[in-house]
Symmetry: C2
Subunit: 246 residues, 2 copies
Amino acid sequence: MPSPNPALSRKEREFIAREELILKHARRLLLEKGFQAWNMEQLAEAVEYSKGTLYQHFSSKEDLVLGVATQSLRQRADLFEKATTFQGKTRERCRAIGFACCEFAMAHPDYFHTDMMLKSSSFIEKASAERQQAHAFEGMRCWRAINTIIIEAMALGDLPKDRVTAEQATFALVSVTVGSHIMGQEPNLKVFAGIKDQMQAVRLNQDLICDGLGWKPLLHEHDYRATDLRILKEIFPSASKWLKAA
Amino acid sequence: MPSPNPALSRKEREFIAREELILKHARRLLLEKGFQAWNMEQLAEAVEYSKGTLYQHFSSKEDLVLGVATQSLRQRADLFEKATTFQGKTRERCRAIGFACCEFAMAHPDYFHTDMMLKSSSFIEKASAERQQAHAFEGMRCWRAINTIIIEAMALGDLPKDRVTAEQATFALVSVTVGSHIMGQEPNLKVFAGIKDQMQAVRLNQDLICDGLGWKPLLHEHDYRATDLRILKEIFPSASKWLKAA
DNA sequence: AAATAATTTGACCAATGGTCAAATTATGGC
DNA sequence: GCCATAATTTGACCATTGGTCAAATTATTT
C-alpha cells in the first residue's frame, strides 16, 4: 500500500486514489469472471463513477487489465528483490526466490492467466505505451533478481559456467517456473499428476532445474529443510502456513 | 490430411470438407490477427459462406477457436506417439519427444498462445462440451506419451524412483516444455537471454530437467549429437533443417 | 454572487457475436 | 419435366458492449 505523497495536491491525490479504487474492483472482476464476462458499465457501477470517468484513467479495457497486471507484477518484483537479501549460499537465495514466487502466486491466483492474455499482440497493442513500458520494467526487475544471483553463483563457483551461460540458466528457471504455475492450474493435469500442493510442485521443478544445472549444493547434498524454515521465518513470516508442507 | 471416408454419404463428406475449410481459414486469421482482430463476418466472406452457415458447425467463436486448437493438438499427439517409436535408450526416446515438440511448435507458431487463452474458464466454457472433451483427449495423448516413457525408464533403472514419482517427473517435463515455448516468444526475454534458436533453448531446458531427475545417461555421459542425427533422420526427416543447429 | 474553469455524466454511436424467418436449393414421386 | 416436400443457406435483424463527447454539474477564482 503506497502511502499518500504530501508533495501532490489534493486533486492529484484524489485522482491516484480513484485509480487504485478502479484497479481494485477491476482486479476482483478479473479474478471472479475472467476478461470477457464483465463490462465497463458494471465496473463503473461498482466504483460508483460513470463509464466516462473510467476512460479518463484508462484508454481501453485492455489498458485497464494491463494496469491490474502491472500492479501485481510490481509486487512480484518486490518479493523477488526481498528474497535476494536472504543471507546464505547462492542456491539458498535462489530457493528464497522460489518461495517468493509461490507467495506471490497464492496472493494472485489469476495473475498467470491474465499475463498469458497480455502476450497476445492484438491484446497488448490496445494498451497505452506508458503502461506497456511500466509492465516491461517490472518484468525486468523479476528477471534481474534471478539473473543477479546466478551470475554471483557462477562467480563463486557454486554454479558451473561450462554447461550454460548465466542467461540460459536464468531463462531455464523463469521458464520452468511460469510453466509449472500454468500447468499446475490445469484441472486434468492436476488429477493425473496427483498434485495436491501446487506450490510444492513448482518448487520441486525449480529444484530439478537447479540440480540439472549442477548448482551446489545439490538437493541431496544439503538439508534444505532447515533453509526453508529460515526463509519462511526471516523473509516471508506471513507464509508460515507452508511450514508443514515444506 | 484425412482421406475421405467412403462409408459416409456425399452430404456428410461435404459437411466435413466444409468444416475443414472453415477451420483452415480460422487458423489463418488466428495466426495473423489473434483472437479479437477479426470477426465472424470476415471469416464467412473468406470461406464464401454466410455467417449463419458457420454457426451450423460451431456454437460460438470460442467453439471455433477450440476446434482449431484441437486440430493442432491432435497433430502434436501424433508426433509425440511417433517419437516414442524411436529405437534406443529411454532418455533418447524422451529426446525424440523433445524434437517432436519443437517440430510441432515450428509448424504451429500460434498454438501456445491460443492454448493459453483456452485455459481461461470464461473462454472455454463458451465452447461445446464435445469439443472440450476432444481437446482434453488429445492433451491426454501427449501426456501419456511422455508418462509411458518415464514409467519404462523407471522400470529399467535409467531413471531413479526415489527422487520423484513418475507423475511428478512427467509434470516437470510438461511444465518446462510449455513454459519454455511461451517464454521463448517473449520479445524482451529473447533479447536479454540472448536466445537465437528458440527450439534449442526449449530442448536445453528439457535436458536440464532430465539431468536433474538423474535420467541416465546424463548429458555429459553420452554423445547425444549422434542420437539427435538419428532422431532427425529416422523420425522427422522433414526437419533436416535442424541438423546444423543440433 | 457571478464568471470561469475543471470535472463528471450518460445518451449515443459503431462494431460484432449470435438468431431465425424467409429464400433458395435439393430430393423424390409421378 | 413438374410439382411437393424436405433440407439447407442466407442476411436482415437483435442485443450487448467498448468507446465518445456535448451537456450538466461541481469547484475555483474574482
